[in-house]
Amino acid sequence: MLRPLLGGLIFASALVSIMVRPYRVSEAVSAAAGAALMLAFGFVGIPDAAGLLVGQWNTFGFFLGLMLISAVAEEAGVFEVLGYTAARWGRGNAARLYAAVFAVGTVITVFLSNDATALILTPVVYALVTRLRLNVLPFVFACTFIADTASMVLPVSNPINILMLHSVGGSLGGFLRYLLLPAAAAVALNAVVFLLLFRRDLAQDYRLEDLPPPRVEDPRYLATVSILLGVIAACYVAASITRAPLSVVALGGALALLAAALWRRRLHARSLARKISWSLFLFVGAMFILVRGVENLGFTAEAGRLLATAAGGNALAAVILVTVGTALGANLINNVPMALVMVSTLGALPASTPAVSSLPYAAMFGADLGPNLTTVGSLATMLWLLILRRRGLEVSTLQYVRLGVTFVPLLLLAGSVLIWLRL
């Protein structure tokens, strides 16, 4: 009795520490401390933990390859060129520019992942829009939202997809079957709603001559990197179809890009190393051990039983519960631990559970979109407070709450129904 209690306490404490970050302790350190306690108290055996981490080589390799690819693409000027191209497509109209930013953000997210859009494209668009003297907030909102809503188009669009797909033994076929339509609907809804919402701010023109062309220090290098990115994208699709490990494509692509950087004398190891989130590997590895600990204690199996009971034999209810539950959890704790908990929980479901084949994909949908709730909860709180400040009487508190509470849940519900329809 005490052991499950202790194990649960370790897990809960680690999650709370990840959420709250007491004394500015990083999420990775909190997770690692929790994992160390799980090992120390024997909730996870060391050989089990080692096997678990080694078994996730595809996930870790993919993360590393993806970050290297984004870093090289950024250094080559790919994002600046894409931003400038969007400004040209806009032809002096802010609403057209907005649509173009959505399109560019979607393409970057689909092939280079959501982090590339959120972290690299957002400041590029910020600087671009500032120079064009347009209201920057709607564009920041566009980048941050599309980074998540477009991250369900392909497995490679979000590292969470790879993590979950690898853990459940899913396939590209299953992924596209259940998620392509919800992903397309999410992207379309996102673009339309935001274009309507920000139509007043976008009723402006701009002069392209206010924007200096992007400084491309080495056009041949940029061209080479662009071609290699295209090849990597094609290889991602091919590897997904043939179920070859995606980490091989990601790392191979990264090596090719690094070779190009070396050839053009543009390889700066220190600068590159700073672009890699090394703490992410510690965090993900520690989370695997933490979740294995609660799995060994039977918590996730119990959660699976509760889920099956709550669904009551209804396929749609099961899909909605998994989607919304994962999204809420991703919003509260972080989408990595939530994804791992859901993988373990769904793995414990009996085969007779309705819609059981679709539930891992419903969880992916929730984990990918969930951070938008966090966005609504914290980042968008800041953004909307700024908008409120600017618009004074126009945007009431009620409107803000209504948008925050309805838009993302609406996407979640629409996606759940579309997944259910694919059964």
Binding site: E27, V140, R200, Q204, R389, G392
Partner: protein, 152 residues
Amino acid sequence: MRILCAIGDRRGAELVRKVARFAGSTDELALVHVVDTGPRHPVNHLEGHLRPPHGRGQEMDAAENDAGEAVLREAAAEAGRAGLASTSRLERGRPEQVMVAVARELQADLLAVLARELPASHPRQGPPSVGHTARFILDHAPTDVILFRERP
């Protein structure tokens, strides 16, 4: 008379043109543009603790400064065409608060502000016709304020 002109992102020259219609030839215009640092917070917040820093702070600073200096140059050129002496000043912070603080610091005789930077997308009359920055300045400025509205 020292007139502080609250230069926004786009219509600084227009504001100076309106001020020039009644300003005397010995009046001096203090052209002040404030880079709103508010939108930077959510962008910096994206970095998080499992993501590396985006490292584009300098680029964003440069974009903000260049855009601010461009709008000040336009406003100064308009003042020059009207034969009015002017000084330009670029600040950073919350525009409404900085404007009020600078007006106090310069002991401006008058603070000139547009009701809205984007009048076309708002009603021409009623409370929504005055933007937040202009509203704050009207409420808190330590000097007389002249508010230029779009004609209905």
